[in-house]
């Protein structure tokens, strides 16, 4: 006899948070992010019907179809998910929004909408599954690709990358984090923190493209991520099939983890004195890490003082989408009163 599945506080099993099987490449970092989203939703006892999933266009943007099948979702337009999400959340601010974007979707075609969403502080966990390459169109550089990087299709990249986290900080985002897709525990923790944030929580997840950008010299490759990741927080690793558990270690300590293929990743826990409340420090650390060729991960910046757009709009408790008709249509008397002023 099968064991009954373990249920969480809202009576759901982990399977209740699953969705259609992924059509992305095997081993794609995006799949592990989807898996962690399922885990997080389960652990946080979220009701799927209280969540909306939003995305733009690209490999990453397909992935909302692969988690939380009982949530409404919208796979929208390339680079335009922020505006769609803004409208949806002004219409219904009672739902939690999970946005999935990619480096092309956010860093190129959608950079404007991304930054304006941050200005407005729309309440959404905004995940950028960042692999520095256009997968669906077979391997062009994206705006986050490294300077001097070589790709079979695209040749050598002559331009410096756009750093999603720096852009987010410059736009006034109150929650800026970076994680490595292969680091399941860290991915989970930053998503959990992001879900509790009152505005836009930007999570830049380095998510290697196994098909088009896994050259060892790319900062978005597995090999690079494993060797160069410099974590600001405790961390784990979750390859496509099997989870690797990291033994507990103290603040500021290093941990070397051996992975399935024998490669090694050096982890460093957040220094005890790192204080994520200073945006200048966050920018400096990102710059320093960049110069050192390191991948800085963790929650880089956190400031919950700014209200969300819905809060700043002073929206009523009942979402606009659920207002009764007699609230939506003013009374007959108001119309005649108002028109009297035009006679």
């Amino acid at each position: 006899m099968d064991r009954a599945p373990k249920l969480n506080l809202v009576g759901l099993s982990k399977a209740d948070y699953a969705a259609a099987p992924s059509t992305l490449c095997k081993g794609c970092g995006h799949n592990s992010v989807a898996a962690q989203l399922i885990q997080v939703a389960y652990e946080l006892n979220l009701k799927p019907q209280d969540v909306i999933k939003l995305s733009g266009i690209g490999c990453s943007s397909k992935s909302p179809a692969y988690f939380l099948g009982q949530s409404h979702g919208f796979n929208s337009l390339h680079g335009r998910m922020p505006s769609l999400g803004t409208g949806a959340l002004q219409a219904n601010h009672s739902v939690r929004a999970i946005g999935i974007s990619g480096d092309g979707d956010t860093g190129s075609i959608g950079l404007g909408q991304f930054k304006h969403m941050l200005r407005r502080n729309v309440r959404m966990v905004y995940i950028v599954e960042n692999n520095g390459v256009y997968g669906l169109t077979k391997g062009q550089f994206s705006a986050t690709a490294d300077l001097g990087q070589s790709l079979k299709y695209a040749g050598t990249n002559p331009f410096p990358p756009i750093d999603i986290c720096l852009e987010a900080l410059a736009a006034g985002a109150g929650f800026v984090a970076r994680a490595f897709a292969g680091d399941a525990k860290q991915v989970r923790e930053v998503i959990k923190a992001g879900l509790s944030f009152r505005g836009t929580a930007v999570i830049d997840i380095i998510s290697p493209c196994v098909a088009f950008n896994d050259e060892p010299d790319s900062t978005k490759s597995y090999a690079y991520g494993r060797e160069h990741q410099r974590a600001l927080q405790e961390i784990g690793f979750f390859p496509a099939q099997e989870e690797i558990v990291v033994a507990d270690y103290g603040p500021g300590e290093m941990q070397v983890v051996e992975l399935h293929d024998g490669s090694r990743m050096t982890l460093r826990k957040l220094e005890a004195d790192y204080e994520p409340s200073d945006p200048t420090r966050a920018i400096t650390r990102l710059r320093q890490a960049d110069l050192a060729g390191e991948l800085l991960t963790g929650v880089l910046y956190y400031d919950a003082s700014r209200p969300s757009l819905a809060e700043a709009s002073e929206l009523p408790a009942t979402p606009l989408s659920m207002l009764p008709d007699d609230t939506l249509r003013p009374s007959r008397e108001t119309l005649s009163d108002l028109l009297a002023g035009y006679a």
Binding site: P48, P82, S83, S94, Q113, L320, S321, T327
Partner: protein, 616 residues
Amino acid sequence: MAIDTLVRPDAGAQAGAKVNDFSIAVATANGTGSQTANLTLLRSFFKMGIPVHGKNIFPSNIQGQPTWYHIRVSKDGFVARRPPELLVAFNRDTMHQDVAMLEAGGVCVYNSDLRLNEGRSDLTYYPVPVKELLAGVDVKGKIKEYIANMTYVGVVAHLLGVPLDVIEGALEHHFGKRQKLVDSNFEVVRLAYDWAVANVAKADPYRVEPMNATEGLILMTGNEAGALGAVYGGVSVSGWYPITPSTSFIDALRDFLAKLRHDEDGRPTYSVVQAEDELAAIGMVVGAGWAGARALTATSGPGLSLMAEFLSLAYYAEVPAVVWDIQRVGPSTGLPTRTSQGDVGFAYTIGHGDTKHVLLFPSSIEECFEFGYLAHDLADTLQTPVLVLSDLDLGMNNWMGKPFDYPERPLQRGKVLSAEEVAALGDWGRYKDVDGDGIAYRTLPGNPNPAAAWFGRGTGHDEMARYSESPTDWEQNMARLARKFDTARTLVPGPAIEEEPGAQLAIVAYGTTRYAIEEARAQLAAAGVATSFMRVRALPIGDEVRDFVARHEDLVLIEMNRDAQLTAILRDELPEFAARIRPIAHLDGMPLTAAWVLERLMPFLPEEARRLMEGA
């Protein structure tokens, strides 16, 4: 000779009095506050019970460029543009071209500080010594400049016979409770009026007399009327980006929402977000529509171009959205402050692939209000974008109209399933055509039934909203969307038809060209030439439009664009009648005049009718 003070009593005086039937053009510089003076004149005529309409012919500029305001005063209620008989020449830069435009017998009231050469002897001149008149007024600098225009209000009031208390009433209407402004402006009006009474001998035939033809009517812009209609249609979310001539639509929307839409705690039951561009503006609208709130944006041609992408998505993912396109002249930036009907073809199929959209064509403030709420009913019912194609002329100018009827029909929210309904249905599918009308059932985010969820997408999908590249799924879905469009034909407003027995010609039009056409038809009728008229009010067309075309062998379709865009659409939809629909298409940025319509209609009239007109 000091021409500044010369008054010629001869020209025009011999003609009989022309009462309540003329046009005035006021020429000033942009940004000098002339709008207040012009609206004061407009409202004064309106308050005297005389049918009136004002058109702002303005430059794409903030300050200093020439601007004109045309006021049509018509005892017969005609409100189309008509070349002016009276000119108020208060702009040095355009003075000579303005005077040159007047027909013989015209009247020129001018600022004599500007040294106009009264070269034409076939006009009546009234110089106004503005500086001298303002010398005794106790205001300084910029304000003096603003109220200087009130001098022509006073002189024109005297010349035409507008009582001063009517002017004061109009100023009170304009400034509301700001009594100081009423007083300072009225002081100048009175000064100029008194000066004119003492110094100006009336030497032209134009004057006004009180009527009661505006009793019970209102005066409002189309943008205000449309925004108000949307508020009574329950609009709750707007994303927008400023663009002339649609900005005043959103300004009005925000004003009306602030007045009318609050909960018990005083919280706004709406959200208006100024977007970073039109891509985001329509994105917010589509997002809100998907989430279940009534949402709109207002824009004009260049903005509509940017919205193509989201409108294609909203058509295919079947999301309600309302777009007010206040048409200006394109292509490209075009003439940003001039009117047109140039977006019809683009709007009808906006988006790549096989897209078709519901369009509404308001022609009056009453229709702006009605379509204001109807657009949301249609968008919700059909789960698709609805585009309301207004124009600059209607949107930004003041028009008379009947006070709007309160919408009697409850909000039509369409096929939205509750949690209980989802449970009762069992296996519902977002894109299943259960009722055979092409309209499937939808659920909204936040629906507490976990089975209510569906995944919206612009990619190929099956009836269950699952990703699908199946040729059958694609074709069946697109066929259903075409079926839905056929359902739309039965739901959109039908045409306004005036069919005359023995009509020699049938005229088809849409939107604001109606006013010049109606005036031209009246002149034809007066000469004994009967015409029929169909004003198309929406696309896609339904049976009424088709039957009208089928009943008339001789049709002309008048529209304000170069390429006869609606003509092309009707010919395409009614191929069997394509040859009988003949276009009169024209666009120069100015609203049509009856004289132009008549001239262009002549070649289409039968020989006998032409003779009648030539005799008239």
